[in-house]
Every structure is written in C-alpha cells, then in structure tokens.
Symmetry: C2
Subunit: 311 residues, 2 copies
C-alpha cells in the first residue's frame, strides 16, 4: 500500500503521521514545538520525527506540512506565523535540504500549506469521502480557522488567505480579538477566549465549580450542569451558528464540517449552531447543507497536508 | 459582429437589451413588469420586447434571462420569486415555446439565472475584463443581492443559491429584515430599508429637508449636508464594510464590485466601507482585494445573463 507523510505544525505542538491515500492515519507521533521555535532546529526536529516514525525513510515520495499562519503555498514559504513567531521562512526549501542531507538517494516533493486549508482538504476526503463538491471546514481550537473546497478543489483565493472564518465579524461592537478587531467569531468560539471569559467571570464573583479552566474542563462542567460553562458554550454556539448561517447563505455548500479539539464539545455547540442556522439561513441552502462533526477532529490538518503533497 | 440578448426581470421593471460578446449594451428597452405579473403574459411581453428591439429576430442564437429569486438554472425553473410572486415557473420552457410560436424557423437556446448571479458574470466581463479569477459582486438596490465568480467560473453552490450576501447577519440583535431574520446586511444597506428608516426618523421628530424620500434623494440630501441622510449612508456603509471585510477574509477575492442603483451613492458608501475593511480584514487579503464601483451599475444583470446564455 502507498503511504504518505503528513505534518501538522502548531505553536505548541507538532505532529507527524503516516497516512494512507484515503486519509487513514496509520501511525503518528507528537513532539513539543515550543522549545525548537527557530526554523532550522524545527526543520531538523521535523525530519528526525519523520525518520523515527518511518524508520529509514525508504519509499517516502512526498511530505505535506500544514502550518498555522499565512502561507505562500506556491513557493512553500511561511509568510507569517504569529504562533511560531516566523516571518518569511522558506520552509519547503529548508525541509528539502535537510531531507537531502539525511537521505541523499531519495527524491522527495515537499508541500507547505496553511493548516486550516490542509484541514479542509482532509475533511473533503475523510468526512466528505470526495463525494461532495463544495465544503467548508471550521477548525475550532485555541483560535478558529477555516478552509474551503470548491468544485472538488482546495480553494485558496488570491493570496492563499481564503477561509479565515474565525475573523469574520459576528458582533460589530463586541469582544476584542487578538487580531485587533472587535467581534470576530474567534473571540467567542476560540478555546483560549472561552477560558479567558470563564476566568474573568469567576474573578468578578460568578460561582462555578470549574477549577484549572481548559476547554475540556468547560465541556465536562457544562455536562454536569455548571451554569457558567453552559452559558459560555451557548454563546460560542450562538456566534458559531451566525457565522455558519452566513457561510451557508454565501457559499451554499453541501457540507459544513466542525473540527478541532473544541468541536469535541459536540451537542453543546451543535444545538445552538443549528438553532441559528434555522433562524438565519435561507431554507433552500440550509436544507442542502449537512452540518457535521468531523470523524477525525484533530487529525484533519495532517491528513490533508499528506494528501495535498501527493505529486 | 455577434450580438446577444439579455433580459433582466425584476418585480417592478423588466429590461431587454442587445449586448456584444464583451458585454457592451448596444440597445435596451425597459417595460413595466408589475402589470403583467403572471408567467404567461409576462413571457409574451418579454418576447415581444425582444422582437421590438431586434426587429425580426433573425440571427438571435441565445437569450439569457436574469430573475430576482430562487432559480434552478439547470432546468430553467424559477423555484420562487417573492418579487414576482411566482412559484415553480418553468420560465425557460415557456420562453422557448413562445419563441417557437413567433419565430418558427429559429433555433434558440434560453438560459435562466438568478439576477445577482448573472450580475456577477456581467461584472467579471465588464469590470474585471475576465482578468481576475475570483470576484464578488454586491447588487445594491431595493434589497441587497450578491454573486460570486471563482476560478473564472460562475459559482452557484449546491442548489444555485450561492451569493446571498444581503442575508448574512451583520448585527445579531439588529433590524428586522423582510426575510424574517434580524440584522441582515439588507436591512441596513437595502434602498427600501433606508427609505423606511428615514421616514420613521422624521416621523419621530428628526428634522430633515428631504421630501418624497427615495434612495436617490437620500444621496442628494447627504451631499447637501443633511445630517439624517448622512447618518443613514454612514450606517449603510458601515454594515456593508463589515460584510465586505468578512467576504475578503473568507474568499480572498481579487475584486469586489459594488453595483445596482444604490451603489451610485459612490463615496457616501465607499468611505465607510473602506474604513471597516481596514479595521476588520486581514492585511494580505485586504491588499489583494480591489473594491470598486461597477462601470455599468444597473446593467450587469442583463449583460451577465446575455453572456451566460452563449451556447
């Protein structure tokens, strides 16, 4: 069986996996990315992780890397990654050079893509089984990303920046987002913002049983009846629903996939999301759009990166 | 020179034109649509207007019709048009039948398309000169419509409903829209809503020199310094800017075209629109997106319909 290599590069962790051509993860390994943040050590780390998971590297034909940030896919350059604190890093070239050093005999193609774009391509294969033509994915994690597949192809837009659903305004005068704007979807449905809100509410005297607040603990607390946690999920789902309804009216997709760690909140998000879609999207496109939780919520990025890299 | 026929069918007026293959209008005629609202008399009217403008109809090869409403382009059926009060009207077949009756010897292809989708195709040719790959048009009239060109092709989505930018939520708890939702872009930037707001404000005691309020008079009044009119344009531009910034973050297009009668307000809209884009869109896609007023603001629909119909 043909096997592919996918890499997902975030600001805290990296993950390398061997993936089948239909997007099944055969083996994967995570590594802390925070200690090797400058490009060259990071590239050495990535390649050594690849060789660890795929022994001597024999038979590797392509490597796809998804990176959180503004990526020039055509030239394989990370224009800007706030998470990694990188600017204009020629990641494709650096990885190719390191691979040539480690595996002189091997010919390898390397592809670099924005992580949410890669996730859209992963969702197209894993959740859509390549059967739908138009798909939108929302990656719900610390922040909120997104990617779009149009007519069975990854849609990148004019500069590879398409899909930034997390920074669509959903509440014009609303919460301040790290991007500097007010009322972005991310400021309500991003995990780090939910945690921040919970902490602020408790500091201001709200009673809550949650301690050591994380998005996962907010899920557990909400299911156990914690009012503050429930409010935060309802609010996140409300604004997520407004954004998804807008995307449905604008793009009329067959499939909307919720992915990322925060999407594992499941019904805590889906119930308010569906309520807003019912209220705000037109009937014809709303009926045409299936809204689902991804079956591989945290691996779509590396799966998609691996599949995008196939020469 | 090859000549094409385009038709734009609204709820109040219809317009028929002879168009060149690059989208120049050679001749056009308008007719009141409100008196012939049921499908069969409307079809007779359309065909008689076509023959009036193109004498004996000799040489007509294709006719494109843009209709305000939910259109099934594949089968040429108007699923629902609130403006015309039509449901499930097989417009393509009706027009073909009438044409065969009037011009038995002629073979003609007829295409039916949503009017804002047609406008997007018109803008792609007239404003984009087919040089940009990804374009979004907003048709600002009584209401707000939109259409999308992706990779040089009209993007219709799963059910031909794509492009409903006017019904993206820009103010969650905001003004009631005719669609039943709250806070749609249309409820702020649609001409009829602006007129309604102006009337309500005056009724509530706001002083203003505007009489017999129309969107055009609101433009004139604003340019003459009328405070109420200026506030309404600023508000419309503010929400339009929020929507366009969202579209830029989501679709990363090369071109955003403002069209329709209300777009002739020009700077009254463009200044607040650009301010919101600067505030709310990411730098890379914002720099990549040219935001312009259409050079054929009220003819894009029929131009696009004519060009879409080319067999």
């Amino acid at each position: 069986m043909k096997k592919l290599v996918g890499v997902d590069l975030g600001g805290t962790n990296g993950k390398v996996a061997v993936v089948t051509p239909v997007g099944r993860v055969l083996e994967s390994v995570s590594f802390p990315a925070s200690e090797v943040l400058t490009p060259k050590p990071m590239v050495k780390e990535i390649v050594s992780q690849i060789l660890k998971i795929w022994k001597d590297g024999a038979g590797i034909k392509s490597i796809g890397i998804g990176v959180a940030g503004d990526v020039d896919n055509e030239h394989g350059v990370v224009r800007f990654s706030p998470n990694l604190n990188w600017r204009k890093v020629p990641l494709k070239k650096l990885v190719q050079d390191e691979l040539r050093r480690m595996l002189p005999a091997t010919k390898l193609s390397v592809t670099v893509e924005n992580d949410a774009n890669a996730a859209a391509w992963g969702a197209y294969h894993v959740d859509g089984k390549t059967k739908c033509k138009n798909l939108v994915v929302l990656t719900l994690g610390t922040g909120v990303g997104g990617g779009i597949v149009i007519d069975g192809k990854l849609y990148r837009g004019a500069t590879g920046s398409a899909g930034e659903i997390g920074h669509m305004t959903v509440e014009p005068g609303g919460r301040l987002c790290n991007c500097g704007n007010r009322g972005c979807l991310e400021a309500y449905a991003g995990g780090s913002y939910m945690v921040r809100e919970a902490k602020a509410a408790i500091k201001q005297g709200r009673t809550s049983k949650i301690t050591e607040i994380t998005p996962l603990r907010l899920q557990i607390a909400a299911r156990q009846g914690d009012k503050l946690a429930q409010e935060l999920w309802n609010e996140a789902g409300y604004y997520l629903g407004i954004a998804v309804a807008g995307v449905i009216n604008l793009l009329n997709p067959e499939l909307v996939v919720l992915a990322g760690g925060v999407s594992q909140a499941g019904k805590l998000l889906l119930v308010p999301v569906m309520a807003e879609i019912k209220k705000r999207a037109f009937e014809t496109p709303a009926r045409a759009a299936k809204v689902i939780l991804s079956s591989s919520p945290t691996d779509l990025g590396l799966i998609g990166a691996a599949l995008l890299a196939v020469p």
